[in-house]
């Protein structure tokens, strides 16, 4: 019993950590940069820009450019003064 409780604790702990790290970003999907060095980005209403990565980014590029979408995933890097941030998309929906 003690063992099961321990396992449950570990599973719940890591699960909560995982979910805690998921973020939501809402903004417009765009392609920026000059060829051949383009990026798919999401630009939020407050001007933050993240490069969108992950498998679903292909669909977003093909179908959602210039649309406003809500992305759920992981912020890999926050934008800094000189470059875009990075966001790994896991789910998306129209807001």
């Amino acid at each position: 019993m003690k063992k099961v409780a321990m396992i449950l604790f570990v599973v719940l702990f890591f699960s909560s950590c995982l979910f805690a790290r998921l973020s939501t970003v809402t903004g417009k999907i765009k392609v920026t940069g000059n060829e051949p060095f383009t990026n798919l980005i999401i630009e939020t209403a407050d001007g933050k820009k993240y490069i969108v990565i992950g498998e679903k980014s292909v669909y977003l590029k093909n179908e959602k450019q210039n649309s406003i979408v809500k992305l759920k995933g992981k912020i890999k890097k926050e934008p800094d003064k000189i470059i875009f941030g990075s966001f790994e998309v896991m789910e998306f929906q129209n807001p």
Partner: protein, 563 residues
């Protein structure tokens, strides 16, 4: 002939792509500003038309138009008239300016023999100056709250020379965009002064490819094209005169300092030799990674530089002997101008103005740069016509416009990196330049912190009036979803006095005829459109709000034009 386009009338066009049943209701949301895109598409998307009940009329061509000259800081830029050749229908339609084109469009004739006659040379000509699969970070966006700096007043006095003997002993290491090492010789150099700024231009060549036939001549030729002879005759002078300096001080310590030097690296981009990758070449590129210090990007070359595909420049077309002015070198010169705009665009838009550009806007500026200086370079440019004073022959099969013409449902602002995207942005850009101020307009578009259509709206004084007129005088159902409505009907509310509505029906299927029905108001049309052909219907004096309904077979595209 001066043409300041003032929009004497309003044209609103709506494109419907309808499903087989004609009853698809899944609208694809587009952006409001694509209204202008659509305006342009109407003028640019030159389908060949015929009233299905009338005898075909002969096509009309632009025989009397001459180049339009714009002067910026003492340098003249000529923009010639544009012809469009439609591969689908094997016809050319002349784009005049705005409404004139429209009347030309309406008097064009039916053609039902679609062709697709891309030759190897045409494919090469249309090679993408870049490679879309690469998605590394390039647009190092300078986020907001930067201090805008004043632009210098450009006055252009050029002095150039090329006095360096090639050094084929010492070698220099570069990184390509994949981080591969390129070992190169330092083979040519010169200086050019422009706008009070003197820069040195260094040319490097891959040490192995430099031994290839005509490689030394190629390196000298590209230098000469870039720096000229000191008499306002260089890519550097022409392009920087339009857009501004390519580099200077930066508020970011991550950037390299301004050494007032541009490097051109000639090597085998992609390692695909004379044949390209499946026939497609990366002809050249500018990569802003090189503007950064190695401490920030370890693969940075720490140079303000271009990369040019040397094997491509060494190619020869059939029955042609290579020379610095043969066809492939000429394409390289256009590419060099194209990439130079990217170089300037990065500095002016991102560093100076602390903004960024969507790819369609950035590429539009580059392909229009080719257009602006094609006559100076003595190349065809994206119009596909050598003589700037001519709109060309009936069958123009090169340049960007044929593909634009046959892809009139391709979005302007959705960028996929394919050849059609380049054609579409050129269609739009050539319209802007010929109606709203030529190269000077593009200078404004680049030298602003605004992006996308905001940059155009800010740069074109009458742009907002156009959109306001659109929104206030017309009401098309789903006005914010003008493009790809995907619905089976459209409702038109006319302005006072009534208007005329045209429905242009194109059967894009080259092998079978298609049935269509359009009904609404006094219009009731039902019949068959021949394979690969077009027709149009007109209904006049619309004084009340009316809804028109469509039933179209798959492959049929309808463009509605209200005026």
């Amino acid at each position: 002939m001066k043409r300041i386009y003032s929009f004497p009338f309003y044209v609103i066009s709506v494109l419907f792509l309808l499903s087989c049943s004609g009853s698809s209701s899944s609208g694809i949301v587009s952006q409001k500003n694509e209204v202008l895109d659509f305006f342009l598409r109407q003028w640019g998307a030159a389908v060949v038309l015929s009233d299905s009940t009338a005898a075909p009329e002969p096509l009309k061509y632009n025989n009397g138009e001459s180049a339009e000259t714009y002067t910026i800081n003492g340098i003249n830029y000529n923009l010639g008239p544009i012809n469009l050749y439609n591969y689908k229908y094997d016809k050319t339609t002349t784009v005049y300016y705005g409404p004139y084109f429209y009347s030309s469009l309406m008097s064009s004739s039916l053609e039902s023999s679609p062709v697709n006659n891309f030759s190897d040379d045409d494919i090469a000509l249309s090679s993408i100056p870049g490679k879309k699969e690469i998605t590394e970070e390039n647009e190092r966006n300078m986020l907001l709250n930067l201090t805008r700096r004043n632009f210098p007043e450009y006055y252009y006095k050029s002095t150039a020379n090329s006095d360096l003997q090639p050094n084929t002993v010492d070698t220099y290491s570069f990184y390509d965009y994949n981080g591969n090492t390129i070992t190169a010789f330092f083979v040519a150099a010169g200086t050019v002064s422009s706008g009070g700024r003197t820069i040195t231009v260094n040319v490097y060549a891959d040490k192995n490819w430099y031994a290839a036939a005509n490689a030394p001549e190629s390196c000298t030729a590209i230098l000469q094209k870039f720096i000229g002879s000191g008499n306002k005759d260089s890519i550097y002078e022409w392009v920087s005169n339009i857009f501004g300096a390519e580099w200077g001080s930066s508020p970011y310590s991550e950037h390299i300092s301004d050494a007032k030097t541009i490097s051109i690296l000639m090597f085998d981009i992609d390692g695909d030799g004379y044949n390209g990758t499946n026939g497609v070449f990366t002809v050249g590129y500018f990569y802003s990674r090189d503007n950064f210090k190695k401490t920030y990007y370890s693969f940075s070359n720490e140079k303000i530089m271009f990369s040019i595909d040397l094997p491509y420049m060494l190619k020869t077309a059939s029955s042609e002997t290579w020379s610095p002015s043969s066809s492939y070198p000429n394409k390289i010169y256009g590419t060099l101008a194209h990439e130079f705009q990217h170089m300037i665009h990065y500095y002016q838009k991102s560093v100076v103005n602390g903004s960024y550009s969507s790819t369609w806007l950035n590429e539009m500026c580059s392909v229009c740069t080719e257009d602006f200086i094609a006559d100076k370079l003595g190349i065809e440019g994206p119009r596909g016509i050598m003589n700037v004073n001519s709109s060309g022959s009936q069958y123009i099969s090169s340049g960007r416009l044929p593909l634009f013409n046959s892809m009139n449902d391709d979005s302007l602002t959705t960028w996929g990196g394919n050849l059609a995207d380049y054609s579409v942005v050129f269609g739009f850009g050539s319209y802007l330049s010929r109606n709203f101020g030529g190269p000077g307009l593009f200078r404004k578009i680049v030298n602003t912190s605004k992006n996308d259509f905001d940059a155009i709206k800010e740069s074109v004084p009458s742009y907002s009036a156009i959109t306001e007129d659109y929104s206030s005088t017309w009401n098309i159902s789903g006005a914010d979803e003008v493009r790809y409505i995907g619905a089976s009907s459209v409702t038109i509310t006319p302005i006072t006095g009534g208007n005329t509505l045209y429905f242009i029906v194109s059967n894009t299927d080259s092998s079978s005829s298609k049935k269509i029905t359009i009904q609404g108001g006094s219009l009731s049309k039902s019949g068959t459109v021949a394979a690969g052909s077009n027709t149009y219907f007109k209904t006049e004096k619309i004084t009340n709000s009316e809804t028109f309904y469509f039933t179209l077979e798959s492959g049929v595209v309808v463009t509605a034009v209200a005026r």
